[in-house]
């Protein structure tokens, strides 16, 4: 920073630099989201309260089931990606360079393919007559026409594969910054592998796990393409229900209310997280 704060150019420069980004966020995010907020408050008929659309959501058993399914699956997916992503990130962080590079490549490569293409791949793999069914039949576990396609398990499997890179990469950054000497000292003091993990590595990688989980949760709760294709129309999730309301049923006000609720669910987790992080920094 210049030593002369009175210079007009100094005052204008930061404003000019920030304006394009700010304009983009306001125009492309806050403005449309604001419109949706307003849409959601318009009651379906004259005389009803502005909360009529929200009330309708909570009074209807069908939508409550959709919301419960979305929430339940998102939690399962988040936990599953954490269980798979954490060991993967740890191994990648502690491997020799060539292996770390290979693992990283394998993790990131799926992201290079469109998620729709990957999902169609899962539909073939999980469908009747697909390799998964044939394997189950060969092992004597599956009925003749069993398939994971159009089931909640199928949704979880496909979503975990799609979202794993996000969890892994986020956690990897944090683990890589843990000083390996800390683990070595714990081992020299007599702690076994699992005790070291529990008392040294895990506590230190919590920030990475938490932000990874938050990312995966937010992505899976608002996910539309994969649950729609793999789960089918009989297992609707919230994002799919919103899409149907907006394009088939054409009740935009109700669709807006559902979108606000979805946003609220993600914010409900984000705010405590930010508060915790803040306290960790200052505490």
């Amino acid at each position: 920073m210049r030593a002369n704060p009175g210079n007009a150019a100094d005052r204008i420069e930061p404003v000019v630099l920030v304006t394009p980004g700010l304009a983009l966020i306001i125009g492309a995010f806050f403005f449309p989201v604001g419109q949706i907020l307003i849409l959601s408050l318009v009651p379906p008929e004259e005389g009803l309260s502005i909360w009529a659309n929200f009330a309708r959501f909570f009074e209807d058993d069908y939508y409550l089931r959709v919301a419960w399914r979305t929430l339940k699956l998102s939690v399962i997916i988040t936990v599953a990606t954490a269980l798979i992503g954490f060991p993967l990130a740890y191994v990648t962080a502690r491997s020799p360079r060539w292996l770390a590079f290979l693992l990283l490549l394998l993790t990131v490569l799926p992201l290079m393919t469109s998620v729709v293409v990957r999902t169609f791949g899962w539909m073939i793999v999980l469908g009747r007559g697909g390799p998964v069914t044939q394997l189950l039949m060969a092992l004597g576990l599956g009925a003749r026409d069993a398939a994971l396609l159009h089931t909640e398990t199928g949704i979880v499997v496909a979503m975990v594969q799609v979202l794993l890179p996000f969890m892994t990469i986020t956690t990897l950054g944090v683990i890589a910054s843990i000083n390996p000497f800390l683990e070595e000292s714990a081992r020299t003091m007599g702690a076994g592998f699992y005790r070291t993990m529990r008392h040294v590595v895990l506590p230190l990688s919590i920030p990475g796990l938490v932000s990874g989980s938050l990312l995966v949760f937010a992505l899976s709760i608002s996910s539309f393409v994969t649950p729609n294709l793999v789960g089918g129309v009989r297992l609707p999730v919230l994002a799919g229900a919103i899409y149907q309301q907006a394009t088939s049923v054409l009740d935009w006000n109700f669709a807006a209310a559902q979108s606000v609720l979805l946003l609220g669910a993600v914010l409900a987790l984000l705010v405590p997280y930010l508060a915790l992080m803040r306290r960790a920094q200052h505490g």
């Binding site: 469908g127 009747r128 729609n228 129309v233 009989r234 229900a241 907006a246 088939s248 049923v249 054409l250």
Partner: protein, 344 residues
């Protein structure tokens, strides 16, 4: 001096970039993707582009989506020509989203069947092809060709029946057809919903897009499905042993219309495009490529091809047509009822 040079260079480049945009006209249309869109490009879009030196931008959107987009864009429409397969043109015309067409602007007006040009003055575009809904079945599994819609309810094939979701025009028509077979009317579709519930109890699966149907037949997961004649042909072309049959109780017709969107600067060109879509060569091309039935009496089809489509005014008039006004008005309510029925 440098500034002058830079300024001139920029002006020149800007001018060169702007030139093509001025010279060539543009049309924005929608199509239905997959094999349909390929045929659409070959038979109508590319020849029109060449003939009139026009650039045509194609947006893939099924009819329900297209209508939703038109409604959202009412203040500033982005489409010039919009195609519908589910009777949406009735609602769109009533809402003022479509521009009326003067019969004098359609060179093929006189050759079209009367049902194909109803409502032109209100904005409802002409019908450019007709598809027929019936039963598709796997000939290697089902020995005798089914003769009734009730064949779907046979418990023996219960788990291998696949039906389309209501978001697809064919799915909606299927629901209405089963409703009619089971004694319901457009005012009360409960018999239709009960019929679908019965199919689901038997183990039927629901799909939402045409490629999923092809995949189901290819993987042996589907043995019978109520769907359209044009898709049966696509499946046979892909090498699958699938045949199509029109059941005795009657078959609903799917009327694909080409409509001119209101409030756009180049309505003349759009109307010319609609007219171009109706010419006999295009109609014959649709029949050959996808087994769509023509609406232009001047379209000439070879005999064996004529046997595989609905040929002639008489045959076309025998197709069932559910009142588009009622269908459009009650579709949201039916969609809601369907979603509640099928959700697990």
């Amino acid at each position: 001096m440098k500034k002058l040079f830079n300024g001139t260079a920029i002006a020149l480049v800007a001018g060169l970039v702007a030139l093509p945009a001025q010279g060539q006209q543009r049309l924005v249309i929608n199509s239905f993707g997959g094999a349909y869109e390929e045929a659409h490009q070959r038979l109508i879009i590319e020849p029109f582009e060449e003939m009139h030196n026009v650039e045509i931008e194609v947006v893939t959107a099924y009819s329900a989506d297209a209508l939703a987009q038109l409604r959202a864009q009412a203040a500033n429409p982005q489409f010039d020509v919009i195609h519908f397969s589910g009777g949406q043109e009735v609602a769109a015309a009533r809402e003022g989203l479509l521009a009326p067409i003067d019969p004098a602007d359609l060179t093929h007006y006189d050759d079209l069947y009367p049902f194909a040009v109803e409502g032109l003055e209100e904005g409802r575009g002409p019908v450019m092809s007709v598809a027929v809904l019936g039963l598709l079945y796997d000939t290697s599994v089902v020995e005798a060709a089914p003769t009734s819609w009730e064949a779907l309810f046979d418990p023996a094939i219960g788990e291998s029946v696949v039906i389309a979701d209501i978001s697809n025009t064919y799915g909606l028509l299927n629901l209405l057809m089963l409703n009619q077979v089971r004694g319901g009317t457009l005012d009360d579709i409960q018999p239709g919903l009960d019929a679908v519930a019965e199919l689901l109890d038997n183990g039927a699966q629901i799909f939402s897009s045409s490629p999923e149907l092809q995949q189901a037949f290819a993987q042996g997961a589907a043995v019978m499905s109520p769907y359209a004649q044009d898709y049966a042909f696509t499946l046979t072309e892909a090498g699958l042993p699938v045949a199509f049959v029109q059941p005795d109780e009657g078959s609903p017709g799917v009327y694909i219309t080409a409509n001119v969107v209101a409030g756009r600067p180049n309505t003349e060109l759009a109307t010319a495009f609609v007219d171009f879509s109706l010419r006999p060569e295009a109609q014959a091309g649709w029949a050959e490529a996808l087994r769509y039935s023509p609406t232009n009496s001047a379209a000439e089809l070879p005999e064996e091809l004529a046997g595989q489509v609905v040929y002639g005014e008489e045959a076309a008039n025998r197709l069932l047509r559910f009142d588009p006004d009622v269908v459009n008005e009650r579709r949201p309510e039916w969609t809601d009822a369907w979603n509640r029925l099928v959700a697990q």
